[in-house]
Amino acid sequence: MAEVLVVSRKEVADIFGSKRYLILFALILLLSTFSAYQGAEYIRNNPEAGFLAIFSGAGFGFSFLQWMIFFGPLLGLALGFDAINKEKTSGTLSILLSQPIFRDSVINGKFLAGAAALATLTVSTVGIMCGLAIPMIGFGPTLEGASRVVLLSLLTVLYLAFWLSLGLLFSVLTKKTSTSMLSSVATWLFFTIVINILAYLIASLMVPVPSSMFRTGDLEGQGLDIFQSPEYLELMQRRIAVASTILKVSPINLYSEAALAILGVVQVLPGMDAPSVASGLAAIWANIAAIAVGLVVCFAVSYVKFLRSEIRPGG
């Protein structure tokens, strides 16, 4: 246990001293400040919106949630993608493993350090946002609101830790840091952009619009009414259902659904109370579990791979 702490203490010192982390941290703080202003603005314009809207309300730019959804993966991947292979190529791993420690201390220590850095980042961002927004809008969260903020922070840390463990996996599977960096960027692009296109493409292939709908004679008489026909609308709904099922595998989607549910901003109709914390949690329990499973699987694979890896002559 002491060995893990030695490794993670050194890693934490490395992370907090690294330019990479400081740049990301500065960027996130800057963007959170913007988001806090926007959130506060949104609350002023929409008096029914509660305090929590500072995290989700957006005007001309991105909200905190949107930033996390979009840039969170990069944050986690950036802290993990070179954890092991960098030490391998620079020759420090053979010295590290020549010490009287068990090999898993290295990977555990690195993961712990990364997760601690991400937690610090999340907590300080949320703290700063609350600190900025409360004086601006003149009121703070209720007790229930505060508990939602805590839950949102925990969910965000879990989400970021998932991407960290994926980055760690790349660093174990690849030899060069350039390869793991490219894999990380590719994964990020896939889940932020490509998967959406892919989901709708697959949906339109699985639910084709039969050509019988466009019988030549009908076009003359009905004009564009075909797009309003019940058959067509039903087809479109089936397509959306297929696409959203496909998108369910995306951790980004799992996170955004869960985060919106925790904030209680899902399907809030005017005059209706937001779902309670408990019922919100119950609804997105599967999402949280799925992210956690993803994290555990990525970490377990990297763990086993690393423990079994051979330190061969020449690196």
Partner: protein, 311 residues
């Protein structure tokens, strides 16, 4: 009674279809300076990796300091230090911070580490640069840091894998002397892997020659030289004030002489048995004066080439 520090039994490592180390049986005693020689890719590094517990043997067993290298590899790493061939250090840390990390991993307390690091930096001559980042270090300075790193745990045994490769002659000598001192003054068992014959000849009390994963021979350098002398005969080097073709011709007919060769101003007479007296008599008969005469010793290179080719 000398205890064996390293003992391997049929130690084997197979990577895919390559047998890197093939049935290695080796014993290195406590306090010994053992030279592990062989050409590049012979299996030297793989052997060290297995002994340090960084690589799992495919077959066979070994103990280091009495500990099994697979079951008790953590215990092995407590008493054995290593300077790997392509060792690297955390470039954005100072040598002191690098050593401190290794010290922490060895469970040394803060005061122990401070004391030990100051001593070691002094020993390897890095005190002046103790707060400079390692990224600015030359190769020689990094290698000195590597030695300090291997010693911080106060090991009983240290593996040096090609420690002087790529260093200039002055640093090479310094590093070599440092390792020798550790062995002679502190009784540290040294396992030196090298393909530099000269280096091994200067330092090691006993050598093992490995070729294509197989241990070809282990013995003291003296015994190896004598053995080779017995097999290929002896040679005497002469420097004469004049040589004539007639003299060369007659020398070859002397009983016991196998051949005579001339290189620059030297004459080499190769014999299957000691015929030194007859040879000098013949030279004298031809009116030549002997300016220099000495038996030619077999260099490790000859020994090495013989065993290397034999394998």
């Amino acid at each position: 009674m000398v205890e064996p520090m390293i003992e391997t039994r049929e130690l084997t490592k197979i990577y895919g279809d390559l047998t890197a180390v093939d049935g290695l049986n080796l014993t290195v005693n406590e306090g010994e300076f053992f030279g592990f020689m062989g050409p590049n890719g012979a299996g030297k590094t793989t052997t060290i990796l297995m002994l340090m517990g960084l690589s799992v043997p495919s077959q066979g067993t070994a103990t280091v300091g009495g500990y099994d290298i697979v079951q008790e590899s953590k215990e092995v790493r407590k008493i054995a230090g290593q300077l790997p061939e392509f060792a690297g250090y955390y470039e954005d840390l100072t040598p002191r911070q690098n050593l401190d990390y290794v010290g922490q991993l060895n469970g040394l307390s803060r005061t122990e580490r401070e004391e030990r690091i100051a001593d070691l930096l002094e020993d390897v001559g890095l005190t002046e640069w103790k707060d400079m980042k390692v990224e600015k270090f030359s190769r020689g300075m990094k290698q000195r840091l590597g030695i300090a790193q291997a010693l911080i745990k106060r090991p009983k045994l240290v593996f040096f894998d090609e420690p002087t490769i790529g260093l200039d002659p002055a640093v090479t000598k310094e590093i070599r002397d440092m390792i020798l001192r550790l062995n002679r003054e502190q009784g540290l068992t040294v396992f030196l892997s090298s393909h530099l014959l000269h280096e091994v000849q200067l330092t090691c009390s006993r050598v093992g020659i490995i070729s294509r994963g197989r241990l070809v021979v282990t013995d003291t350098i003296e015994n190896l030289t004598n053995k080779l002398g017995g097999e290929v005969g002896e040679s005497i080097e002469f420097k004469l004030h004049k040589t004539t073709p007639e003299l060369l011709e007659e020398l070859e007919t002397v009983e016991g002489v196998t051949s005579v060769t001339q290189e620059n101003d030297r004459l080499y007479v190769h014999m299957e048995r000691d015929s030194t007296m007859e040879v000098s008599q013949t030279i004298f008969k031809h009116g030549a004066l002997i300016l220099l005469m000495k038996p030619r010793e077999h260099t490790l290179e000859e020994i090495f080439m013989k065993y290397y080719q034999g394998a």
